[in-house]
Structures are given as structure tokens and as C-alpha cells.
Amino acid sequence: MSQIINVEHLNYRYPQQSESELTLHDVSFSVTAGEWVAIVGHNGSGKSTLAKNLNGLLAPVSGKITVDGQVLTEDTVWDIRRKIGMVFQNPDNQFVGATVADDVAFSLENQGVPRDEMLKRVADALAQVNMSAFATREPARLSGGQKQRVALAGMIAARPKILILDESTSMLDPEGRADVLATIRQMKADSDLTVLSITHDIDEAASANRVLVVNDGELVEEGTPAEIFQHGPALIKMGLDMPYPERLKAALKRQGVTVPATYLTEKGMADWLWQLISNK
């Protein structure tokens, strides 16, 4: 499998930071084409800064970023941005169209997609996120969750090779979040899309093939979701929610109950409790 993103020894500091400070420090990782990687970390850990370096919104102090075979430089940044779709937490910052449909069409117009195909892609994308009824509305008048769906529709229509989600489901209700995650899984199945999702949501992290943990600008750990979730209460420090079985274990302990030390899934936890109670 080919590497679609390769980051080597990336260092980044914001212009107002002093020479001794770094927001990202010696970050190296790679992502395989078609992979779904979740990036987790508490607020201020440098996750969003990392995402903005990947498509050249921020320029690193040093280090090398390669996207789909192209080294990121001033000359290649426009090519690379065409390959990467980004959805931010607060889509107000990225709306440009007067109507929802115009907004979804914006990047297609820039790419010179023929009008007939553009109309079809926009309609399909809005249908996928359940926003067809809102095609002629003003984006500014939608609710937070509806805005996030429209921003995602823009990416579905644009068909990037890489999709970066920067807390893009944070404003959705639980059902909306499940819908969006299902839509992204469908996009991946249709097109071998690579997904990087920056998230605090345990379900979104669980959807990934791999989880990278960022702390104070450094990559401190990586593993499968199950490997990372074993950390239990320490997950909160990593900027992730605790999986429910770990929360219940903590509550049972407070009641004086002896609980297993190993990580249990929800099913495993239910099995364990049922066995104890039914054999009493």
C-alpha cells in the first residue's frame, strides 16, 4: 500500500512565539492511502496546527511534508490543496455561497467542472447529508449542526483524495454524528478516500484504523483504537472521552466492587455483570 501522507521531523511555531517555543515538535508519521487515522489530544495540544500544516495553511519552521507523492512547497501548495478537503469545527468560517447549493458548488466551479455534472454532484452530495430540502437557503441561517452537514456536502461534491475533519461532528446531535460517520464510511468505500479526523469523540476515534495521540506538540503514542482505549481514566488527559465500560468500572469501584483490570468492551462488560448476577 502506498503512503499518501508522509510527515518528517515537522517543527512549527506561531509568529508570536519566542525562538525557544514550538507548537509542534519533531512530529513524524505517515498515512497509507485509504486509511482512517484519528488524531486525538487535549485542547491546545497542537492537533489543529498539525492539520493546517498538512495543506499549507501554515508553513513549518522545518521538516518535510509529502502528500500524494508531492513535497509540499510554495510551488506545489495549490496542487496539494486540491487533493485535500478540510471541514472545520465552525463552518461559518468557510462558507462563501449565497445559498447552500452555491456553497457546495463553489469548489467545483473552481475546478472547472462542467455545469451539468456540477448540478448532479451538488444534488447528490446534499442528498447524502440529508440537506436537499435546504438547497436554496442561506447558509448563515442554518443551525450549527446543519452547517456542519453542508460543509461536509461541499467535500463530498469536491471528491478530494484526502479528507481532514477538524472536530467536524462536534456540533451534531448523536444521531447526526452517527449519520455523518456513516456517510464518511460510504465515501471511503466508494473512492478509497483517506481520512484524518481530529476528534474528542470516542465513537469517531473507534471508527479509525489507527489513533495518534498528540500532547504538547509531540506525537506521544499511536495504536489501534482498542490499544489506546485500554488507558482508561488516563484517556481524559489525552483529550478523549472515557469509553463507557471504564466509567462504569470507576463508579462500581466507588461502591466497593471488585472490577476486572483489563479493558472490556460494552458487550464484555455486560457479559461480566450478567455472569456474576445470574450465577449468584
Binding site: H42, N43, G44, Q89, N90, R137, E138, R141, L142, S143, G144, G145, Q146, R149, E167, S170, M171, L172, D173, P174, E175, G176, H200, L235, I236, K237, G239, L240, D241, M242, Y244, R247, L248, A250, A251, L252, K253, R254, Q255, G256, V257, T258, V259, P260, A261, T262, E266, K267, M269, A270, L273, W274, L276, I277, S278, N279, K280
Partner: protein, 294 residues
């Protein structure tokens, strides 16, 4: 301070081709001193209802009674200032409303707007910073040099500086990490007692509803479809699913246990409630307090 809705309708851009009815026949009371959660799926009308709580929007039909002030479609936009002082709204991403040179000036802006002297407003600003758990060292800093979580606390301090009786929170923890969310929710719970506030929380987090609210209003398609205690609302999981709402994590997990044959006298809503219910049923030898297989 109680807020009462009677037969309230609201239409955005009425009389234009963009007219959309967002609220229909709302009859609901937010009791004085309650911690009321306002829930409903995306686009159900929660944010529109919220803007009626301090007359940012006026009903297109019906009346909203806020304390002793009655708001009707005919109410003039003048003289609403006092009302807005009593009902403080913390909007989504409130940090985007910060604008002053220093934290102190930003928090003091609201009270000064309501005629408080500069000296008194600055004194209030320092007190409010304590209340939201920030260090007074930050008073002279630019709000734009702070972290996202700190900026949000400054914005909330700005709302509290007006000494509202009702504090309305629109998804106040969106975008915060889990530790930040927990700290923020605990802060509101403490503020409620210290300042004797009525709290209205708009949220998608059913766990927050279970942990903090004592009254719940459920909206769907611009209507109020249910009101009651969290216990009333969450005891019928099928009904919640039909209205595109989730369950608290504990209630969802209790359902899995019930499917296996474990019974509960009352539906547990929080992990502590579930743990207490399970302790009654677990074998005695399990109650040692240690951790297995280590």
C-alpha cells in the same frame, strides 16, 4: 425568575418567499430556580426558542412572559434593556464576541453599557474572573492571547457581570476537550447555587441532561413534544429514538443489561445510579473493592 410561553408561533422572514415557520404553538414554563435542559435534534427550533428568552426575537403570535414583563408581537424594541440584563445568554462559541483590548475592559463593557460607573464595572470584572475560575493576573492581558477555553470563560464572565437571574447556555461545551467540558459543567452547577440562578441549557449531550438538569423540554419540528424530569423523559427509549434523540450512556447500557435479564426498579440515568443498583444484585464476594487479575 420564571419564563412562560403561551401559544407562541415564530416565523423567520414573514411575508417573504424565504418565510419559514420555526416555532408552532409553544406552551411551556421554565420554572424559577430550575435547571432546565432544552433538547431536540438539529433544526428542531431550540435556538429560535432560546432567542425568545430575552426578547432577541419576539413571537409572531402569542405571548412570552419573562418575570413580570409580557412580550407580544406588538412589543416595542425600546425598553427591553432591563429585561436583557436579567436574562444573560451565552451563545455558541461566545469567545467570538470578545473585542476589547484587555480582559478587564471586555468583562466591564456590559455593566457600563447599563450605566454602571467605570470603577464599579472594573471591580465587578475582577470578581467575575474569580467566579469563572480564572486568575486575576489575566485582567490586563488581551483576551486574544488566551487559550480557547480561557476565552470562553472570559466571555461567560462578561455575561455574569450583568448579574442575570437567568443564565441561558447554548451548547456551552462545544469544542472543548473532555476535561474542559467537565470543568465547565461543574462551574455552571456551582454558579447556580452561589448566584441562585435559573439555568437553561441547550444541549445534545444526554449525559449532561442526566447529570445536571431537573427539568427537561423536548422539541421536535418547532413544537414542544414533551416536558418532565430527566427520569420522565428517559424512561421511554423507543419514544426518544422516534424523536431522533439519544439516551444517556448509562440508560443505553442498562437496556443491554435488561435484555439479558437484569432488572431495575427505576431506570438508571447516571453511572453512579447504575452502580448503586448493581451493588444490590452482585454476589457478596465481589464487594472487596480491589481490582481483579493484577
Amino acid at each position: 425568575m420564571a419564563i412562560d410561553f403561551k401559544q407562541v408561533d415564530f416565523t423567520y422572514q414573514p411575508g417573504t418567499p424565504f418565510a419559514t415557520q420555526a416555532l408552532t404553538d409553544i406552551n411551556v414554563t421554565i420554572p424559577d430556580g430550575s435547571y432546565t435542559a432544552l433538547i431536540g435534534h438539529t433544526g428542531s427550533g431550540k435556538s429560535t426558542l432560546l432567542q425568545h428568552l430575552n426578547a432577541l426575537l419576539k413571537p409572531t403570535a402569542g405571548t412570552v412572559t419573562i418575570g413580570d414583563r409580557v412580550i407580544t408581537p406588538e412589543t416595542s424594541n425600546k425598553d427591553l434593556k432591563a429585561l436583557r440584563r436579567h436574562v444573560g445568554i451565552v451563545f455558541q462559541f461566545p469567545e467570538s464576541q470578545l473585542f476589547e483590548e484587555t480582559v478587564e475592559k471586555d468583562i466591564a463593557f456590559g455593566p457600563q453599557n447599563f450605566g454602571v460607573s467605570e470603577a464599579d464595572a472594573l471591580k465587578t470584572a475582577a470578581e467575575m474572573l474569580d467566579l469563572v475560575g480564572l486568575d486575576r493576573d489575566l485582567l490586563q492581558r488581551s483576551p486574544f492571547d488566551l487559550s480557547g477555553g480561557q476565552m470562553r470563560r472570559v466571555a461567560i464572565a462578561g455575561v455574569l457581570a450583568m448579574a442575570p437571574q437567568v443564565l441561558v447556555l447554548d451548547e456551552p461545551t462545544a469544542g472543548l476537550d473532555p476535561q474542559g467540558r467537565l470543568d465547565m459543567m461543574e462551574m455552571f452547577a456551582n454558579l447556580r447555587y452561589e448566584r441562585h440562578l435559573t439555568v437553561v441549557l441547550v444541549t445534545h449531550q444526554m449525559d449532561d441532561v442526566a447529570n445536571y438538569a431537573d427539568n427537561v423540554i423536548v422539541m421536535d419540528h418547532g413544537k414542544v413534544v414533551k416536558t418532565g424530569t430527566p427520569q420522565d423523559i428517559f424512561k421511554d427509549p423507543d419514544w426518544l429514538v422516534a424523536h431522533h434523540l439519544g439516551l444517556p450512556k448509562t440508560t443505553a447500557f442498562a437496556q443491554q443489561l435488561m435484555a439479558r435479564g437484569i432488572q431495575f426498579d427505576q431506570m438508571p440515568l447516571t453511572e453512579d445510579q447504575l452502580a448503586q443498583a448493581l451493588v444490590q444484585q452482585l454476589p457478596v464476594q465481589q464487594l472487596g473493592g480491589a481490582t481483579d487479575d493484577e
